[in-house]
Symmetry: C2
Subunit: 157 residues, 2 copies
């Protein structure tokens, strides 16, 4: 018996939309767990890692507002507040004010976070790349293109 058939999906009957969907759910869940396991040794979670990476790569010197970070990551505003609360407590980010708009808080990664990312990043990438290497580079390219098309369409409406 196949994983997908458990959901009532009739495999091999041309229902590739359903198959793809459940394949996506299973792949995501398994991959996410594997990445979370790796990051645990660094006191990080996938969410924290992504936030730090976005701030580091998008924020530069001046930093990034919480809204902007949230937009990149599909993270809600309130969740962003609490995520940053934790990162701030751990000394990994700072919240500074923005000249000209007192509502905005500009987030920057600290030196401590930068070093942590330097240590955690290679293994993090290796974890992901090893997992994906089940597929040939050509297939990965095809997969990536398909997923980008799906993302574009899903974000549109």
């Amino acid at each position: 018996m196949n994983d997908l058939e458990a959901f009532g999906v009739e495999v091999g009957k041309g229902n590739y939309g359903e198959e793809s969907f459940y394949g996506l759910v299973l792949t995501y869940t398994l991959l996410f767990d594997q990445v979370a396991d790796y990051l645990d040794a660094y006191g990080l979670t996938p969410a924290k890692m992504n936030v730090l990476m976005v701030i580091k790569h998008q924020g530069g010197e001046q930093g990034l507002s919480q809204r902007e970070i949230g937009k990149w990551l599909l993270v809600t505003a309130s969740n962003m507040t609490r995520l940053l609360d934790k990162l701030e407590r751990e000394g990994l980010i700072t919240r500074g004010g923005m000249a000209g708009d007192k509502r905005v808080k500009l987030i920057r990664v600290t030196a401590k976070a930068s070093h942590l990312l330097d240590r955690a990043w290679p293994g993090y990438m290796k974890t992901i790349i090893c997992a994906m290497n089940v597929l040939s580079p050509a297939d990965q390219k095809i997969l990536s293109a398909m997923l980008q098309r799906l993302v574009q369409a899903l974000k549109a409406p």
Copy 2:
């Protein structure tokens, strides 16, 4: 600027493993939210829907133990208990004993749940299929095959 570049992934440089991974995360998140929105009108969540579908399709007359349901769905035992607590309170499942092993509880869907699934299922599938129809049937077939290969590999170790 591209979504993936936000994470520091250099798009177009051959890093298709990373691209695929973040594509997977974004696709899953967007798709999951859309499905959750649809199910909300029926008082269901994706987790509840999946559990009910598995019991209905795998359990048949005699029902299914909680462990077995959990195995199909990658849901931990304690989470399964709480999920079923809710479904039981809502009158959607029953927990019966198993002859021969008093530890096991056999879960069955009620008539109420069966009717609910009959009503919710078509739109649920339509939501999924419409989203996936951004890709041609041929592409969906390829995507599905790739994801199944990933799932197999990720479950192995």
